[in-house]
Assembly symmetry: C2
Homo-oligomer: 239 residues x 2
Amino acid sequence: MSIAISEIFGPTIQGEGALIGVPTLFVRTGGCDFRCSWCDTLYAVEPRFKADWTPMSAEAVMTEVNGLSGGHPLLVTLSGGNPALQPLTELLELGHAQGYTFAMETQGSKVQDWFAMLDHLTLSPKPPSSGMAFNRSRFEASLAAAGDQTQVSLKLVIADEADYQWARDVAAGYPQLPLTLQPCNPSPATPEQPDLETDTESLNSRLRWLVDKVTADRWFNARVLPQLHVLIWNNERGV
Amino acid sequence: MSIAISEIFGPTIQGEGALIGVPTLFVRTGGCDFRCSWCDTLYAVEPRFKADWTPMSAEAVMTEVNGLSGGHPLLVTLSGGNPALQPLTELLELGHAQGYTFAMETQGSKVQDWFAMLDHLTLSPKPPSSGMAFNRSRFEASLAAAGDQTQVSLKLVIADEADYQWARDVAAGYPQLPLTLQPCNPSPATPEQPDLETDTESLNSRLRWLVDKVTADRWFNARVLPQLHVLIWNNERGV
C-alpha cells in the first residue's frame, strides 16, 4: 500500500483556488488517468517519468512532512497527477493524529471512500480545451463520497469561450459549491522546457477577459482568481 | 446626512484580503483621518480633492449601484478614504432590503454603531511604515461594535522588517480573527502620477520575501496575498 510520490515541498503558500494565500506543504503524487492538453505537471503524470516517483509508506511521507514543518502542523495539500489514484487512508489518519489538516485537488474521475476524511476537497473537472471528457456521474459520486464533513469547492479552469460556456453549465448544476474560475496558463512549463518563462502579459489579459465575462454576465457567485505561484515564481518547481 | 462619494465603480473583482476574487461593486467615500505615507488613494483622502467628492444621499448611491449592477444584487465594498467617517446606516438598510451585501475596510480609528450591520468588516490598522499610530483601544472598540453577526477579518500591510514584527505582535492579540498579510506597494499611483506603471518585479520580490518570512516563522494561520488589481490592472483607477 505504498504511495507514489513525485515531490514533497514547502512550506509555501497555496497559489490558487479557495485556499489561495494559505500556508501549506505540498505532497504531489505521481500518476494520472488524464492527459490534459495544457497540463503543467507532466512530470507527475506521464509514465515515462515513473522512475522519478518514489513509493513511500504513509509513515515515511509524514516523516518528511514533519521535517519540513519542524513538527508544527499546518495544511497539507495533496496534489498530482491525480492523488485520488493513491491509497491515502493511512496518511490522513496519521497526519490528523499529529494535528495536520488536508486539502486535496482532483478532477473527480476516481472516487474513494477516504474523500470523507479530507478537510477540503477541490473538485476540478476539466473543460473541453483539455481534451478530456466530463463524467458527471463520477463527479457526483465524488461529491457523495466527500459527505458533509469535508469542505468541497469547485474549481474550473477556463482557456476559451467554449470552456466558459461549459463552466456556466456545470456550475449551474451545483449552486451549493463555492466556485473559483481560473484562467488557463497558455504557456505552462513542460519537462522539455522546465524554465519556460511565464508570459505574464498574456496571463493578465486572460484574467481581465474572464473578469469582464463574469461581470457582464452578472455571475456574482463565481470567484475569479489567477495562479499566484505562476505570477510570482514564474513556473518554477518546488515553491 | 449625505455621504461624501469619491467614486462608484464596478462590477469588478475584489483584489485583496479575505474576499479576494469575489465580484463586487466599489463605493469609495471621500475623506480620511489618516495620512499614510504610501497611501494609494490620495484622491479620496486629501482635502484639496474635496471638490471632486459628491455629497450623495443613500438613495442616490443605491440608484447608481443598481445602474451598475443591472439590479442584480451583489457584494458592495465600502472603501475610502475612511468610510467609517460617513453616515452609512441608511445605505446599509436600503441596500440590504434590495438583497445587496456589504463589506467595509477601515483602519479602526473611528467607531460606529452601524459596524454591526455590515456583512464583512476588514480592520486594517496601519503599520509603523505608514507614519500613523495604532490605537489599540479604538481597534478593540471597533471589534466590539461589529459584534458577532459581522464577519471580521484583519488585514495588515507590511513594507519592511519593523512592520513585520509589529504585525506579529498585533495579530498575536487577536488569534480569533482571520488574518491576511499584504506586501506594501512601494510605488503607488499618486494624484500627480495617476498612470505610474506598477513595478511588478519589486512587488513580486516583496511578496516572495513575505512568504519566506511567514513560512520560516511557521506563522501558519496568516494568509499572504498581494493586491491582485495592482498586478493585473497596473494601478489603474475604476477597475
